[in-house]
């Protein structure tokens, strides 16, 4: 089996008196599509935000590629190749869609002050390549014709697509997607998942929250089921579908 990419040990995170994440442990190995499902409010988004350093866990430890990351800032975690697309898109509205994409590139030399001021040679060619890459991703998301429009002009579904596109632009090792196809038209949603499937065969790993189980279960090779801040079931999709706890979580109350 491949090496563990993301290891989460007994992580807890509470808001006020409520534990949104209440002792989660899991191991994600390199390659493939890993799913996370659970009813609304079960703590999925909070778990993602904690992994990304946007929340500090109250307890527990998180390792990425063997390195402890739960004391790192979000920008450092991103640099390591652990990248995310938010459930509610957080775009830079006044900037063009292409600018939004270029901002997501990892290791853009022009992001440094001295390079931008004096050493344009150090990044201009790189940026031309990055822009080509960005246009290819935008094409696959059917956003390329809007590349130069401000992101604020996009519709809800298109914003979601751009959010996913930015994640892909980073060429991450592990990409966390929080409901990537929510609000996107169903045909395109299916295309996104097929694209994800292709990328995962090329070695990119995905950890995906999705509330439409039938879609996720078609693609994921391992599924975690979360309820009330805890992982209650995990396994291959077909195993999870046979687990009585799984039905209790969704139909119980």
């Amino acid at each position: 089996m491949e090496e563990t990419l993301l290891k989460i040990k007994e992580v807890r995170k509470h808001f006020g008196g409520v534990y949104a994440v209440n002792g989660v442990s899991l191991n994600i190995k390199g390659g493939g599509i890993w799913g996370l499902v659970g009813p609304n409010g079960s703590g999925k988004t909070t778990l993602f935000n904690t992994i990304l350093g946007l929340h500090r866990p109250d307890e527990g430890a998180i390792y990425f590629n063997g390195k402890r990351i739960n004391n790192l800032a979000p920008h450092q975690i991103y640099t390591l190749g652990l990248v995310n697309a938010f459930q509610i898109p957080r775009l830079f509205h006044k900037l063009s869609i292409l600018d939004n994409m270029l901002l997501a590139a990892r290791g853009h030399q022009g992001d440094r002050l001295l390079n931008s001021l004096f050493l344009r040679k150090n990044w201009q060619e790189q940026e031309v390549e990055l822009a080509d890459k960005a246009m290819k991703i935008l094409e696959s998301l059917e956003l390329d014709h809007l590349a130069l429009s401000p992101a604020g002009e996009l519709s809800g579904g298109q914003r979601k697509l751009l959010e996913v596109g930015r994640g892909l632009m980073a060429s991450p090792t592990l990409l966390l997607l929080d409901e990537p196809a929510a609000g996107v038209n169903p045909n395109l949603g299916k295309k996104i998942f097929e694209g994800i499937n292709d990328l995962s065969r090329d070695g990119l790993s995905f950890f995906i929250i999705e509330h439409r189980l039938e879609i996720l279960f078609d693609f994921a090779h391992w599924v975690y089921v979360m309820d009330k801040g805890k992982i209650v079931v995990e396994g291959k999709p077909e195993e999870v579908l046979e687990d009585p706890t799984f039905y209790q979580v969704y139909l119980g109350e």
Partner: protein, 315 residues
């Protein structure tokens, strides 16, 4: 006074405040930093220039030293606030400017205290007329303005400027995309303060005498009006705003000398300012000039390709 010298004097002030306006535009327009203590960094540059030039240091070194001390001050003062919400920065720098001014005012040993300090001209031409003297100053000021403009314009059209705008738009998203917001903010404030410091030095040597009353918080707000009027995140806008505000400012002084109005021209100026600001905020909330786009080689290439396709599509 020679009317032409009035106009030339106005041109000098437009240049000096053009630099300050560009620096606030870098900080606020691009990076979203609420620097409500701009005058503090202008003051640091002016006093650094004054003290050093009295010691016989050549003017260009005085200007560079003013830029450096101001940059370091800007960096240190903002340091505790870089990770916090932007209102903390606003409060800290606003208070810092006023405290610094009061210290200089009460400590006569620093630079003459409330009495102020005389500053020699950077370049004095022996036996020159007032016109020539002002023209030499225009040369010096616009040389510095040109350099500052090139710097901010280059940053605005580079990946760095793109990152600053991203941090302004959504700092959490920018961090989640790997941008270290504290680093970018510290660099921006250091650079913006350096520019304000140069402007302070130019100001001190031009008027040849400075005292703490010239650095009241009102000056900060005047610069804010320049940026908001001209259009944040547009460097030409920052210059346009500086020019308009200075014309207003000096216009009121001229009116005072030449006209008899039923009210004090200074008050009239404030009233007109207020009306102008309200009109701008109502009808052009983004300022007179729109936010500029990031123009890099890669962006232009995509833009050109786009236009080529468009032209082919509609013969």
């Amino acid at each position: 006074m020679d009317p032409l010298v009035y106009v030339l004097d106005l041109v000098v002030f437009i240049g000096i405040f053009g630099i300050v306006s560009l620096s606030l535009n870098l900080e606020f327009g691009f990076a979203g930093l609420a620097n409500f203590g701009k005058v503090a960094f202008f003051l640091v540059g002016a006093y650094t220039y004054a003290i050093l030039s009295q010691m016989g240091v050549p003017f260009y070194l005085c200007l560079i030293a003013g830029a450096l001390t101001s940059a370091i001050t800007g960096f240190l003062v903002s340091l505790p606030t870089l990770r916090l919400r932007m209102d903390y920065l606003a409060i800290v720098v606003l208070t810092f400017g006023e405290i610094l001014r009061l210290i200089i005012k009460s400590e006569a040993w620093i630079a003459g205290g409330a009495w102020g300090i005389a500053v020699p001209r950077a370049i004095s031409v022996a036996g020159a007329s007032a016109r020539v003297d002002v023209l030499v100053n225009i040369g010096l000021v616009y040389f510095c303005l040109f350099i500052c403009f090139m710097v901010v314009q280059r940053l605005s059209n580079s990946p760095y400027g793109r990152v600053l705008r991203a941090i302004r738009e959504d700092e959490v998203a920018a961090e989640a995309l790997g941008k270290n917001k504290a680093k970018y903010r510290a660099q921006t404030l250091a650079l913006g303060s350096a520019m304000a410091g140069v402007a302070g030095g130019l100001f001190a040597q031009y008027i040849q005498f400075i005292d703490p009353y010239m650095f009241m918080p009102m000056l900060t707000f005047t610069v804010w009006i320049m940026v908001i009027l001209g259009g944040p995140a547009n460097n030409w806008g920052a210059l346009l705003g500086a020019a308009l505000v200075q014309i207003f400012d000096k216009g009121a002084l001229i009116a005072k000398d030449y006209l008899t109005l039923p009210i004090d021209p200074t008050d009239l100026q404030y009233i007109l300012f207020g009306v102008l600001m309200i009109l701008v905020l109502l009808y052009r909330p983004g300022g007179l000039l729109k936010e500029s786009q990031v123009k890099t080689k890669a962006m232009e290439r995509i833009r050109c390709g786009r236009n080529a396709v468009k032209n082919k599509g509609s013969p």
